[in-house]
């Protein structure tokens, strides 16, 4: 387990792009949005926009999730040699979540301010990101594992995972909106956690099955 994590950490440090690019894309798309629709700033649509952009950022990062290891043969070695490939998949999803989900706990509130959300809503945004993004990485990993074998899997990946992201989007944006309105956020918190837990239960097994299918494809 530790050797897996160490390797992921070394790769993350060397290929900083995996961390910087998602955040850069998020900032860029927020700016475009505000320029295109200035009156959305500090409107009740802001929470929804913020979450939609986080979703799209996650989608972009997913395509590369297994691609590098697939092309280099590292994925092959993992499935052949690892006594417990399940752990390797879980480590990979965890690292992916760190660079595209967990980081949103910090970046999200900053974007909230950019979008004119009230300052007291920022803790709610951070909480929503913390509870919601694991489901994105977990469910997204299933889609990524099945489409990694395709040369142009991007669109299919989006088609497969976007419907699965919908519940997280609804309750994530709902939580922020509830915080803005000052009402209790607990129902959304429970819902987001439930979705992430269900995703945690099915994602590793489904991802492993997906990777086995993709590896057999070439």
């Amino acid at each position: 387990m530790s050797s897996l994590l160490r390797r992921e950490w070394q790769v993350a440090l060397r290929a900083k792009g995996a961390i910087i690019n998602p955040v850069a894309f998020l900032l860029l798309s927020t700016t475009l949005f505000v320029i295109a629709a200035p009156d959305t700033v500090s409107s009740d649509a802001a929470a929804g926009i913020l979450w939609t952009l986080v979703l799209l950022t996650q989608l972009l990062a997913l395509d590369a999730m297994y691609r590098r290891d697939f092309d280099s043969g590292v994925l092959e070695q993992t499935l052949v040699s690892a006594q417990v490939p399940f752990v390797a998949v879980l480590t990979r999803i965890f690292m992916q979540w760190l660079s595209t989900g967990f980081i949103m706990v910090a970046v999200g509130p900053a974007l909230g301010i950019l979008l004119g959300l009230p300052a007291e809503a920022t803790p709610a945004i951070a909480l929503a990101m913390l509870l919601g993004t694991p489901a994105l990485s977990l469910l997204g990993s299933i889609g990524a594992s099945v489409t990694v074998g395709f040369s142009r899997g991007g669109v299919i990946l989006a088609l497969l995972v976007m419907p699965l992201f919908l519940p997280t989007l609804i309750f994530g944006a709902g939580l922020v909106a509830a915080a803005e309105a000052g009402s209790s956020v607990m129902p959304q918190v429970y819902a987001l956690s439930l979705i992430s837990l269900v995703a945690l239960a099915i994602a590793p097994f489904a991802t492993l099955a997906g990777l086995k299918i993709s590896l057999e494809m070439q």
Binding site: S3, Q10, V11, Q77, S81, E216
Partner: protein
């Protein structure tokens, strides 16, 4: 070490070669030959557990698989790759052994260089060094000679012979002969499956059972 009974691999619904049965014992070096597309790679991938469409049976101890893709992370140095790989066997990194292995395969000077900055031949030598470090006794090698110069081929032959003498076993798919003294030849023949039988992998056609 590895026994195959009437093993036939399938791809796109058709059978790749005539059923194969062999018993690989410790110390055996088996050279797997056959025309292009005869199914050598598919057979090795099946034995490694990466390919699931086959009929017949095989049982094997855990193996080390070396496919066309080397399985080296380009961003990491050979040492870091080895540390990661040995993690699967639950063994911790031992720098001295790593450096010895790299020296043995003639790429010691690349020990601290990311693999992506090496030539294909040098990367293969790094992969070869990894065989030495692995504790797996059964090696499945898929055309390991590609992109290797003459001296590297000599080194590989020596490594394989030593591994077999030490009680390991190697199944190597290759087009060009490997300079190894005693070897067992396994040639994949084209399938003579009678055209009428359709391919059912994984289940017996109940209707046929009734006819028998």
């Amino acid at each position: 070490m590895l026994t195959l009974e009437e093993l036939v691999c399938e791809r796109d619904g058709r059978e790749l070669f005539a059923p194969v049965s062999i018993d690989v014992r410790a110390g055996d070096y088996v050279e797997l030959t056959g025309a292009n597309g005869a199914g050598k790679s598919t057979l090795l991938r099946t034995l490694a557990g990466l390919h699931s469409r086959y009929s017949g049976a095989f049982d094997s101890v855990d193996c080390l698989f070396q496919g066309h893709r080397l399985g080296l992370d380009g961003l990491l140095t050979p040492l870091e790759n080895f540390a990661w790989f040995l993690g699967f066997e639950g063994r911790d990194a031992d720098r001295e052994r790593f450096l010895d292995a790299l020296q043995r395969t003639g790429v010691l000077n690349k020990a601290y260089q990311p693999c992506s900055e090496m030539s294909a031949g040098q990367q293969r030598r790094v992969a070869m060094a990894r065989w030495l470090l692995s504790s797996r006794s059964l090696w499945l090698l898929d055309e390991p000679l590609t992109a290797l110069d003459a001296s590297a081929q000599q080194v590989m032959a020596k490594i394989i012979v030593e591994h077999c003498q030490a009680g390991g076993a190697v199944v190597c798919a290759t087009h060009s002969e490997l300079p190894v003294a005693q070897k067992r030849l396994l040639k994949l023949e084209a399938t003579q499956r009678t055209p009428d039988g359709s391919v059912h992998s994984g289940y017996r056609d109940f209707a046929k059972v009734q006819d028998e």
